[in-house]
Symmetry: C4
Subunit: 193 residues, 4 copies
């Protein structure tokens, strides 16, 4: 029997895959004065905040998608709440390339704190959206135990992202490090699940 | 048995999910003179018309997709008319990031009336396209009663968007408020369905 | 039984839906001097070649996708040739937003002939790619009769696009009119199929 | 029975199809002084490195997707390692439009060596990611023999791309030629498979 949530998942997969791909639009071909191979290598290396922000966001969206996949695995029917909780999560996902671009642009400037606070702060809201989706999915699921297992580690997100947002005002690079550390932790613990 | 409308839905899901994600391309990293955290926060706050327009359009496309999903749930076969009614709706959907960018760019300027008239006006045409799709789907559906229920509230779209377009010339912000109020109404009533 | 061509169709649907959506990226928010509603309306109206080119290309890609759908409906297995014929068609599809942007940019300039020749010329190659895909699909299909019916009208594409390319050097607008007339003809005849 | 890897494939198809379509964003409408048809043709012809890089990357991603398809054909269950190996491959795929733009921009300049070294070098990492995915898929597959056949020719990638990266410093055009030759070889041998 076809799952009722089929098109919800297909639509979500579409949004996740596009958002994750659009992250790469912020990797820009460098422009510089004297064009030679040495200068191109140097100009590329100077763009390290872009690469760091791209990797952090790509892995974050990937983990979000894997968890989304985990939640919907046991969902069989849909509800209006599920549609809107999912829509809210997707709206925040779609904004991630923008917050990533902010970090890439301002990480080496005196505005790094604000950029990182917005970036980590957006993941606070994503964590809240995730909890809402989790609650909405529980009502549509036939296996809440599975859901609990999937999201056990992910619940760390909310307090850790709050910490990262606070740290952003003291040390923006440390704040980014906390965000990166979180998805590495998720990746490792997921392997064991 | 596989539904004949399968690829039509997959293609539509693709277009909806890309159009909804491209909305975020108009959230631009602000550029300003003295770079520090306070100025970055201020520069971001000044972009509120972009965030408002983004949210309004994201939710509108989401509601459109949910209704599209509702219509096709009971469609089993396809017809040429269904293909073209659907194509016409998708063409207008794809234009939404453009009309959204218009509003984001001109909402705080003396050209706000024109921008909002184009924005609300595009949703008039979308409502008409939706009605055409609904009519085309009725001929391909085995459960027109379901279709009627799904679209009952959505039919309010045409007169309300006509009102919003007219109001745009008097008070552009009120016009945007009407558009936002409409999808909030749809979201709330859909919950009850 | 799952069709072997399932992922080929899913991938193609993805490319078609993205290419058709990217067409809208060339609808640009106009920038002009004295900002008021009258000037914004005028600036938007002046962009008519963009809207015309967008509509023509959107409908062309839509018809191409509908035909692609028609061809694969009777395909059950895949072959390497099918993969590459399909890949070649997708490569040309992906280029359409670029040729469309050329027309939108140069239709009102003395370079209109070159822009339209490139645009119509790209559809000549697309027609050839389409014929190759049709031949490759015939070998993988269980219902070649269906295939013949689907593509009967589409075969007009090659000679008509050759004509449109030639006409481009004499009258670019007429050339665009021929391209638009062709998909209207397809849309109408498809209804009857 | 639905394959457990279904959404993994759908998500990957999404990313592949978007990345391959975004390649076309780097085909830019030329801007030049005296606007007439002759100059537009010349300006377009001068962009040949863009077209060459676009074709090379499009075909490379197409071959990567065909191989991805081949690997997952025999995968029935998923593992965390499969999710992350796949995610790593997708991250590199998504970067390809950026490395392609580098080549398109700098192939005719004294910085051609650096651009081609980055381009070919990115395919070295992609080959490594591919080998990891292959290893992860073997554990989830019921037909490792099929997997071996699919990837036999693709394993040439790693040494050949190392060669192409080294050659980039001596002769960038030859390096690009090696990359192009490789996917032509794959296309031809795949036909025979």
């Amino acid at each position: 029997m076809e799952k009722d949530s089929y098109r919800l998942e297909a639509f979500s997969d579409g949004v996740f895959s596009i958002a994750i791909t659009l992250l790469a639009l912020d990797l820009r071909v460098p422009v510089f004065e004297t064009v030679n191979s040495k200068n191109l290598f140097e100009a590329l290396l100077k763009e390290w905040p872009s690469y760091l922000a791209f990797t952090a966001s790509f892995m974050s969206i990937l983990v979000m998608w894997i968890n989304h996949h985990g939640i919907f695995k046991s969902v069989r029917k849909t509800s209006s709440e599920l549609f809107f909780a999912n829509g809210f999560l997707l709206m925040l996902t779609v904004v991630t390339p923008f917050t990533t671009a902010l970090v890439a642009r301002y990480l080496r400037t005196p505005a790094a704190s604000a950029a990182m606070a917005v970036y980590a702060g957006s993941f606070i809201i994503i964590s809240i959206a995730y909890n809402w989706l989790w609650a909405a999915a529980t009502g549509c699921s036939h296996a809440t135990e599975h859901l609990n297992r999937v999201t056990r580690h992910y619940r760390l997100g909310l307090p850790i992202y709050c910490l990262a947002t606070a740290v952003a005002f003291l040390n923006p690079l440390l704040s980014l490090g906390i965000c990166i550390g979180l998805w590495i932790f998720w990746a490792v613990t997921m392997r064991e699940a």
